[in-house]
Symmetry: C2
Subunit: 147 residues, 2 copies
Amino acid sequence: MSQGHTAVPDEVTDACTVRQVLDRVGGKWSIGVLVHACRGPVRFTELERAVEGISRRMLTLTLRNLERDGLLTRTVYPTVPPKVEYTATPMARELYDSLVTLTSWAQRHRADIAAAREAYDREHGRAGDAATDTCPMSGPDLAAAGR
Amino acid sequence: MSQGHTAVPDEVTDACTVRQVLDRVGGKWSIGVLVHACRGPVRFTELERAVEGISRRMLTLTLRNLERDGLLTRTVYPTVPPKVEYTATPMARELYDSLVTLTSWAQRHRADIAAAREAYDREHGRAGDAATDTCPMSGPDLAAAGR
DNA sequence: CAGAATCCTCGGTGATACTG
DNA sequence: CAGTATCACCGAGGATTCTG
């Protein structure tokens, strides 16, 4: 609908759009930060501890990107010591809602994926790593593992 | 609902699930390949030309990952010369549909993001790259730009 | 407390050549 | 045609230190 002069099918347009979104929140830490920011104003060190495993540098960069894209609002309180709060914009909340719809797919097919993986590994002789999803919970402690 | 024994809130669970999905299709080429595979059986070289800018190696790796996750089916025809077809599984189609819902968000807020970027750049004195979305269409030629 | 600056590593990615 | 193998590179990301 946008432009009708190219021979590019809609599927490609969709793919590109998806990629654009993914390029923004597809970063290693974006989602983690976004999630916590969506729950209300969050401070820097708060995030540093909440998003397990993130470094100062990466937190700063992630926040910058999200702020730059208009997904986060940075509020500085000129107190001493300084206090900065990050808040998710309405746009970010919408995005997050959209992203959460993906979880329904994941939950529906969690077993299928695992089965496919197993079948694949069995047939192609264990391609190496188990790659059992890098997720904090149901694991002892991620921060320790990062060492 | 899953487990009630941890102090981990649902938001974090969601975040992790989203990350898991993103880790699978968040790759640079996964979406592109997936899109073409969803339109029907596709052959290797077909994809190599369809997904502009992808290298043989990356195409192979992407296909492997998608196959491993049960998103693609690899069918080998023992002819000569060899012929291999990749087909998206129903699961993959569902995933793709879910991903497409993201495009609605992107389209709704395309202007907002651009505006936010501009505002940010104006206030913080041009952080460097314009970063105007890496997307084939409405651009002359991506393959050439990759050099 | 919140970040900037610097250095360094490691893995994803691309280019090329070879094979069944 | 459909890959595999090998090398070389670059940049995302991590650790540490310094500052307002």
